[in-house]
């Protein structure tokens, strides 16, 4: 009997949060599918999908996922689960945002007192969300454009960040975990997904001191999706298995595994398929 | 048969011509000694004869075939010819392994190898050192092992660069005898350099003298640096020592320079019973320091402030009753003096 092996690129958060460690054994038990997990940044994971290096991707950047499907790289986006983003800060909370619901309001306050803020700055789902939030604050923003050449044509990638951010707005271009570490070290505010935060606050050798200061704004939702790669683009991909995996994820069984996953007694992800 | 023929051979280092040989033949089965002052190109010539360095210009034939200095062709030639360096290098291994190397390269069977190595070590009296680490040997031991390493390979042509310079007297004699013997028994052609003229004359069939890269016809014995004698009127005289001014044959003089070198043919100097009228000039006195028998010629070293060498037949020698320690008088004919360079 041939081994059912599926290759999946995913964002680091699914792996680092430990979710996959409970999800995949269940999957194998039910379907016999073994998954080779390649964890990397959202951008790189999507890239893997476009290049046909994997059979399926599991990421959280809704807009880009949709574009991915539009361009024909993926067949369908399955909404699997979500968690949410939270704004973290040092215990002494110099900007006084504790208890605020509106994320935009909180960021505005931080900018007003020029309290240190760490941005992932890596074009990840979290970074994309952060930019949306800054736009919502209405404070003056600066645009930064990178030019690249693609197939001989110039293309531009654009980012925004608060104007005159100088010393207080630090863009570190790293994953969520490291961003938390840096924010903790610098006693700074940052935007993080709840899963990683819990992991770093309660499940780490050296816990971080940061606390959740702002949460609950609907804009802070963070949906994850899986997309099987389109066999029309890449004939070699194992579409059947990818399909089976996606189906299992959105099945009752898959969804309940996600709902029941606890880290330090805290729920990290909320199933999206059953409601 | 002619082993090597050199034509218009030159070697240039850093724009300096260190070797310039219009014509030279090395014949088979003979022993050549190569003499000459330091830096005169002896080692350079041996390197070229050993196919280890290309000349800068000119032609070489080896056994009637022209030699092209192309790596692929040299390989085979090098199997014929072995050079033992002036300061030989032994590989960082045992003495035995050092000797084995050339034999292994020639694919000689183990049993034969063992015999040949032992033989070669015996020749130079180094058998006890077979298992010693070669790079820890003393200077003379090193030189002897290097010789043995080459001898074990019985090459057609054997080039030795000062083979006995660090070897003790006892072994010097032994090594020279070996050279003589292998030359006869194995019909080996040998070219060796030395600074010991007696050694050269004793064992070699022919002596080549290099001077500043050129071959000298006249020999190497009496070379002096000289300045023109400014006090001499109308005559060409040169001074080689504060007390010695010699009249030269004007035919043999090249355009006068501030400082030049002369060569006095040792065969043309003759001892006199006493200073007489017949020879008004170029008569010198000196103390006999040494008398040596060199292949039926007698070599007499006389100290007249500078050391002069007289080469005479045994008859002349006996006739003139020369004793070491004597003060003798001798005459240098002007035509015996030749300016070089």
């Amino acid at each position: 009997s041939e081994e059912k092996i599926l290759k999946m690129s995913t964002t680091t958060s699914t792996q680092a949060s430990g979710l996959l460690d409970v999800l995949l054994p269940e999957l194998e038990k039910d379907t016999g599918i073994k998954v080779k997990v390649i964890a990397k940044g959202t951008g790189a994971a999507i890239r893997d999908g476009m290049d046909g290096n994997v059979d399926i991707i599991f990421v959280h950047a809704k807009a880009r996922e949709e574009k991915f499907i539009q361009e024909g790289y993926g067949t369908k986006r399955y909404a699997v689960m979500h968690n949410d983003f939270v704004i973290l800060g040092p215990p002494n909370d110099p900007a006084g945002i504790n208890g605020l619901i509106s994320a935009a309001e909180a960021l505005k306050k931080i900018a007003a007192v020029k309290s240190a803020f760490i941005s992932r700055g890596d074009d990840s789902g979290t970074h994309t969300k952060e930019q949306t939030l800054w736009k919502a604050t209405g404070i003056p923003l600066e645009k930064k454009t990178d030019k690249i050449i693609k197939k001989g044509k110039k293309r531009e990638i654009t980012f925004v960040h608060p104007a005159e951010s100088g010393q207080w707005y630090l863009s570190i271009g790293q994953g969520m975990g490291k961003t938390l570490t840096v924010a903790d070290e610098k006693k700074a505010y940052t935007l993080a997904d709840r899963g990683t935060f819990i992991k770093y606050k309660y499940g780490r050798d050296v816990p971080i001191e940061l606390n959740v200061l702002c949460e609950g704004d609907p804009i802070l939702a963070n949906p994850y999706g899986v997309i099987p790669i389109n066999p029309k683009k890449h004939s070699h991909v194992n579409y059947e298995l990818a399909q089976a995996f996606a189906q299992w994820l959105v099945s009752d069984k898959g969804q309940s595994v996600i709902a029941n996953y606890r880290l330090m007694g805290k729920q990290l992800f909320y199933p999206d398929a059953i409601k | 048969m002619t082993v090597y023929e050199l034509h218009q051979l030159t070697k240039i280092y850093d724009e300096r011509t260190v070797l310039d040989i219009p014509d030279l033949k090395i014949k088979e089965n003979r022993i050549y000694s190569l003499l000459g002052p330091n830096g005169t190109g002896k080692t350079t010539l041996l390197n070229i004869l050993g196919f280890l360095e290309p000349p800068s210009g000119g032609k070489i034939t080896y056994r009637s075939k022209p030699v092209r200095f192309v790596e692929s062709e040299l390989q085979a030639l090098r199997r014929d010819v072995i050079l033992v360096d002036q300061f030989p290098i032994l590989f960082t291994a045992t003495v035995w392994k050092n000797l084995e190397f050339g034999l292994k390269v020639r694919k000689i069977s183990k049993g034969k190898r063992t015999r040949m190595i032992q033989e070669a070590l015996d020749l130079v009296g180094m058998r006890d050192f077979a298992l010693a680490q070669a790079h820890k040997l003393s200077g003379g031991e090193t030189q002897r092992v290097a010789l043995a390493r080459a001898l074990a390979l019985s090459p057609r042509v054997f080039l030795c660069d000062e083979p006995t310079s660090s070897v003790d007297v006892e072994n010097q004699a032994i090594i020279l005898n070996i050279l003589k013997r292998i030359n006869q028994t194995k019909r080996m052609t040998i070219v060796f350099t030395t600074h010991d003229r007696t050694q050269a004359r004793t064992i070699s069939d022919q002596t080549l003298v290099l001077d500043r890269g050129r071959l000298l016809e006249a020999g190497y014995d009496n070379i002096f640096s000289a300045v023109p004698d400014l006090n001499s009127l109308g005559e060409t005289k040169c001074v080689i020592h504060p007390n010695i001014s010699l009249l030269m044959d004007s035919h043999k003089i090249k355009p006068a320079k501030d400082r030049f070198r002369i060569l006095i043919d040792p065969k043309q100097i003759h001892p006199l019973r006493k200073a007489g009228k017949e020879f008004p000039v170029n008569v010198l006195q000196g103390i006999v320091r040494q008398v040596v028998d060199e292949n039926s010629k007698i070599r007499v070293v006389v100290d007249s402030g500078v050391r002069l060498i007289l080469l005479m037949t045994e008859k002349t020698y006996r006739h003139s009753q020369i004793f070491v320690g004597d003060s003798i008088t001798y005459y240098i004919p002007p035509q015996a003096i030749q300016a070089i360079d």
Partner: protein, 231 residues
């Protein structure tokens, strides 16, 4: 400081638990690193020899370029190899990406310059007369090279050891081309990086200590085979 002490203790437990996964990871690391080092040695040592030995036009440029390649970042190597072996690349059909072979390819590229440059340096330091002596004793090019190799062996071995150290401790290429797939391409360093990402610092350092221990063992082995030939 506590962290370090804890790490040492954990390292100790890690080693003596003989955990199957742990053993597997160590195995992958060793296998991949040894393979890369061997291949790079087989290519780089002769290449270094040739370059040091021959005179050819542009020799100095070649050496300068090799020196430059010592600064080849793992990201560049990773991406470079990626473009060839990713599904869209020309070697796509061989399905090499995210395999141990891919790691080996990348690591070989990483250390070939190291091996080559240090081979050149080691050879250059050998007295010209060794070569001359070997040649006059009738050695052909390969036999001459062998003599020089023997004389230069400590330098070359040092280069090989350094290269091994470089690849076994390397993370970028292993991560990019191997993908850190559990049970397939997870090496000690990618495991360390993962643990670090997870915030499991102790485990991460403990793995590092195990890695150093293994490297120490390899070095002892080297020393042992090298014997007292140094003396």
């Amino acid at each position: 400081m506590d962290l370090l002490i804890d790490s040492f203790i954990s390292a100790f437990f890690l080693i003596f638990s003989f955990d199957a996964e742990m053993i597997f990871i160590v195995g992958v690391s060793l296998k991949v690193s040894i393979a890369s080092t061997l291949i790079a040695g087989i290519v780089g040592v002769p290449a270094g020899f040739m370059i040091a030995f021959e005179s050819f036009p542009g020799k100095r440029i070649v050496i300068t370029v090799l020196n430059t390649l010592l600064a080849l970042p793992t990201v560049v190597i990773g991406l470079f190899v990626y473009t060839f072996i990713s599904r869209r690349g020309i070697f796509g059909p061989f399905d090499l990406l995210y395999t141990q072979k891919a790691i080996i390819i990348g690591q070989v590229i990483l250390i070939i310059p190291v091996v080559t440059v240090f081979t050149i340096t080691a050879i250059n330091r050998i007295d010209e007369r060794y070569r001359k002596t070997a040649m006059t004793l009738g050695a052909n090019r390969i036999q001459t090279a062998w003599v020089i190799f023997r004389e230069a062996r400590f330098g070359i071995i040092a280069a090989i050891i350094a290269s091994f150290g470089r690849v076994i401790s390397e993370v970028g290429i292993s991560m990019m081309l191997g993908g850190n797939i559990k049970g397939f391409t997870r090496t000690m360093t990618t495991a360390m990086a993962l643990e670090y990402d997870k915030g499991a610092f102790i485990l991460s350092i403990a793995l590092g200590i195990v890695l150093l221990g293994i490297s120490f063992g390899m070095n002892m082995l080297f020393h042992f085979f090298q014997g007292r030939s140094r003396a």
